[in-house]
């Protein structure tokens, strides 16, 4: 009996080990033209191998719906239909922004054509070149068309490790000044956006205008990430060909291209497998105590502790993470009255702790941990606590500096009693004298 039940369980756990899981869910909707579906078979196979369940849908199909009963039906959406001018009713720039606010991750491919997705890109502070001008480069010398470019990816970034050059074909984009944008892959320095027929003429024209209107250089991106306030991630690719079988297999200087690796890493980041953190709990208490107080007194010594975990896609578990070096704690009442480093505690993984003296200022304060780094999940935690002045008997007493005042008050009282006693004594004597006088 035991083996009868345990065998399926064993296989289930084995399956769990084999398949990496996203921290956000496994359901993926892929919007792709039926005709182009087989162009991306290697990419889709890889995702299935990672444990994702893919649902395909042509851009104009109504079913399956993206949002059902106001609840997002999928954890992730891949839009590879980059050239479609018409989408179904539920795929509009507005609805996609709403979906991202609801926590759904997007992987979007653009094309040189003007589509609804181009106007959506503007919502994410991406500035696209004019329609019909893909990225072209005449370097390095090669047999391919000028719009098919190998991009060097040998320098590791936060999201991408060092890898072989990646084939690219599509539009570049400039970054607006939105702090939530994360560049993933930059365009080569010698590339520029132009009509591939016109060639280098656009450079000559732009030179005459002092470089105005020219989209060129390594400040442009061909792949960019965006982290929404709700934690959802959106990745923009300049062209869907980066994920195609053709570019996966295409050789670059007689070696395998980095496209397969690029697709894996970018989808891992977009689907919240990598660089995912969370704050498990935060506590605060007085030094020499363990229980949190409802309110603290000014100038108390307070210990604040945060526990942070990182998601491990291999095991699909959250593990304590002590690798953050620049975490800060703020103790704020409107402004931070105290901003201090929140270092990891050696010996207890995932624990960050700091002891600080509360300011000499009473009011309603907050412990704020606000960690926003490009590529990493944004961490935010806020705990409200009251800071009160000392109780009436909490102040120091009998201060040496105040002894003249104490002496003054005491001497006045003593002198009053002496004066009263002498006055009464004198009165009785006078009274006797007066009586004696009368008697005489």
């Amino acid at each position: 009996m035991l083996s009868f039940y345990s065998l399926p369980l064993f296989f289930l756990s084995l399956a769990g080990l084999l398949h990496a899981k996203s921290s956000d869910g496994d359901s993926v909707l892929v919007l792709v033209e039926n005709a182009h579906k087989k162009d991306f078979s290697l990419f889709f196979d890889d995702l299935k191998e990672q444990g994702y369940s893919l649902t395909f849908r042509a851009p104009k199909d109504e079913k399956p719906a993206v949002v059902e009963y106001d609840v997002p039906a999928f954890s992730h959406i891949i839009i590879l239909a980059s050239e479609s001018k018409n989408f179904a009713k539920d795929i509009t720039p507005q609805s996609l922004v709403e979906i991202v606010s609801g926590g759904t991750n997007l992987l979007i491919g653009l094309s040189p054509k003007q589509t609804p997705l181009s106007s959506l890109a503007a919502e994410f502070s991406l500035v696209l070149p004019p329609p019909g001008t893909p990225l072209i480069s005449f370097f390095p010398e090669r047999k391919d068309p000028v719009s098919v470019i190998p991009i060097d990816a040998s320098l590791p970034s936060t999201i991408l490790p060092a890898m072989s050059p990646v084939w690219f074909s599509g539009v570049p984009f400039a970054h607006g000044n939105n702090p939530r944008l994360v560049p993933i892959l930059h365009a080569p320095a010698e590339s520029f956006a132009a009509d591939s027929q016109g060639g280098a003429d656009v450079l000559v024209d732009a030179t005459e205008k002092g470089g105005e209107g020219l989209w060129a250089g390594s400040q442009l991106s061909v792949a960019s990430g965006f982290q929404a306030a709700g934690g959802a991630r959106v990745t923009w690719l300049g062209g869907v060909d980066m994920l195609s079988d053709k570019f996966f297999k295409k050789q670059v200087s007689k070696a395998k291209s980095g496209n397969a690796r690029f697709a894996r890493e970018v989808s891992a980041w977009t689907f919240q497998e990598s660089l995912v953190l969370r704050i498990d709990s935060t506590t605060h208490h007085l030094v020499n105590s363990t229980t949190p107080e409802e309110h603290y007194t000014t100038n108390d010594n307070i210990v604040f502790t945060a526990h942070i975990s990182r998601f491990h896609p291999k095991t699909a578990t959250w593990e304590p993470y002590s690798g953050i070096k620049d975490l800060q704690l703020e103790f704020t009442m409107l402004d931070p009255h105290i901003r201090t480093a929140l270092p990891a505690v050696a010996g207890s993984p995932g624990t960050y702790s700091v002891t600080f003296r509360a300011p000499d200022r009473h009011g309603v304060f907050k412990f704020v941990v606000d960690y926003k780094r490009k590529g990493w999940t944004h961490l935010h935690s806020s705990t409200t606590v009251a800071l009160v002045p000392p109780r009436h008997d909490g102040y120091p007493r009998f201060l040496s500096a105040a002894w003249p005042y104490y002496a003054g008050a005491i001497s006045t009282s003593v002198a009053f009693f002496v004066f009263s006693a002498a006055w009464l004594a004198g009165e009785s004597r006078e009274g006797k004298k007066a009586k004696g006088g009368k008697a005489q």
Partner: protein
Amino acid sequence: MPPKSAPAANAAPSSAVQTLWKAYNDSTSDRLKFIDAFLVFLMLSGIVQFAYCVLVTTFPYNAFLSGFGSTVGQFVLTASLRSQVNPENKNEFKDVSPERAFADFALGSIVLHFFVFNFLG
């Protein structure tokens, strides 16, 4: 008379103070002199505390307020007692006997000291 006394005062100011002191000694009863001595003590105590506050520290400000306030309050109460028991003011305070005046003074002082020691902290 005024033309005569004015040059005298200019010529010898110290003799005017001496005259004043002599007149005070001669014409003031012992009881009033005793009250005056108490008043002088309170005044000196208040001056010392105020000087300490200005020159050294006001830090326990409540202690300064109560220490200084006790001398000022006691001074006011004692001065009232003095004017009420002065035989020369008999016509002003027909209803107030010296015993009644002292009882008022004692009650007021006890209340004052009660507040002072509460606030001294």
